[in-house]
Symmetry: C2
């Protein structure tokens, strides 16, 4: 999905991502990209198997060059975390021990609190094949684990980083329902506008003998009004509807009956004026 706006300020703060003995440059690059997507920028590598810098990593980072360029390499995990105040270890396997085990949501909230208090934090991710050793987990303060399908729990390292980075970004939002953009602002319709739609449509239909037989007219109008009021149309939507009715009501077809646009394989229901046709929409 595209949508990058290069004029927006680059967010780059928060916990360091520490990869312990990563094997593939591609994975390191995808980690960098995932970090950049969610505003993280500090990548630390402990003893990467294929060395550093890595052209494969840069290619896989899809222009997250600011993360790749700032990546630091360490010989040991102890050195990589020495300046940090609080460290999470990620793991999918149950570990025997006293360390608290947190969900990503709880871990991100903790990291956010510590960040605001000025602490330096980090999140450890293990090797592609077998994760972190118990000795490495022991160097962390707490454990974070993902709510995965127990029968298919193996998360790629870049995916694990993506989820933590995403939760980090979410933990910085005031409102979890906040989105980067919103639908066009619409004013709710007033009842007067709704009734105007009813009358407009009913008059146009009546002029064509839609309400047949006449004895059923009150029931048919009830059904039609129920369909039209069910969704709480906005002012703008009612305006769209009335334009449609105007167009159907006032103008003759320009060409003889074109083929209807095919939307499904199911037979197209022909709109008809009988009560059954109206009644269907209400069940």
């Amino acid at each position: 999905m595209s949508g990058t706006n290069s004029e927006r300020e680059l967010i780059a703060e928060g916990p360091a991502i520490v990869l312990v003995e990563p094997q593939l440059g591609e994975n390191i690059g995808m980690v960098a990209r995932a970090m950049a997507n969610f505003g993280l920028a500090e990548l630390r590598l402990v003893n990467p198997r294929d060395g550093w810098p890595s052209e494969k990593a840069r290619a896989a980072a899809s222009k997250a060059d600011h993360v790749i360029d700032a990546t630091k390499v360490y010989d040991t995990l102890e050195e990589a975390v020495s300046d940090l105040n609080f460290v999470y270890a990620t793991t999918a396997r149950e570990r025997y021990g006293f360390k608290p085990v947190r969900s990503p949501v709880t871990a991100a909230a903790t990291l956010q609190t510590k960040f605001k208090a000025g602490e330096k934090t980090g999140i450890l991710f293990g090797r592609e094949r077998w994760g972190l050793t118990n000795e490495e987990v022991a160097l962390a303060d707490e454990i974070v684990t993902f709510p995965v399908n127990p029968a298919f729990a193996s998360l790629n390292i870049a995916q694990a980083v993506l989820l933590m980075s995403y939760e980090w970004m979410k933990s910085s939002l005031e409102d979890l329902e906040e989105t980067a953009f919103e639908s066009v602002q619409q004013r709710p319709s007033t009842k007067e506008q709704v009734f105007g739609l009813f009358e407009h449509l009913e008059e146009a239909l009546d002029a064509r003998g839609y309400f047949h037989p006449p004895a059923k007219k009150p029931k048919m109008i009830d059904n039609l009004r129920a369909v039209l009021s069910r969704r709480g149309f906005s002012e703008q939507e009612i305006s769209v509807f009335r334009g449609v009715i105007n167009s159907l009501d006032r103008f003759a077809r320009k060409r003889p009956k074109p083929e209807p646009v095919k939307m499904t394989d199911a037979p197209v229901d022909q709109q008809s004026g009988d009560e059954t046709g109206n009644g269907k929409s209400q069940d």
Copy 2:
């Protein structure tokens, strides 16, 4: 990260994932893997560029064969969603229109509610390079967008599927703080156990002249007790501490002074019995 338990029941239910004109088999495979990680199983492809089946997809799926084997291919998006009741379109770009725009958390909650009510749902994901067309978005009920870094918003298709699958899994959990495993259950210590630790340690230290000069002893004991009680140690942890004290107190070193294990590049603070050394830990 490993941790798959093949004896656990495979979770496979929830919304269909619909990829519109995906280009690379590798991406389709990574999508299948992400779905399997979070318990989704129904993958639909609209007009995949390189055809189907795809060996590249199977390889990238890392054994999510149940998803790959059940994948269905359609010629058009209309056909791919024809049996569904409610559909989300994912997009990173702002779209002009009346459609509601939701965060992944809200979208997942909506999908979960509809799933429990027996509705069939789906989530649309666009092409790698340019996403969904406006006409494709128009076929969905609502839009979902991710809280990404505005300056680096380009999410890989497998990452976008991963995030929605993850939120789907989370929406099925009763408790957001739930984790797949927990730390060893520990009983909180009683005050009697805490005081026992104080006395044990203080006696062992006193026997070695740690509390020097004697006039400072009360203040030094205050500091020491504050350090020991600050973290709310459990019964088991106090037991570990007392074992450590016993060992240091009762046994002589077996060899002449080995090198300390190097943990950082910073000079190692020597533990000493002066008040300053104790006082530091309290600030």
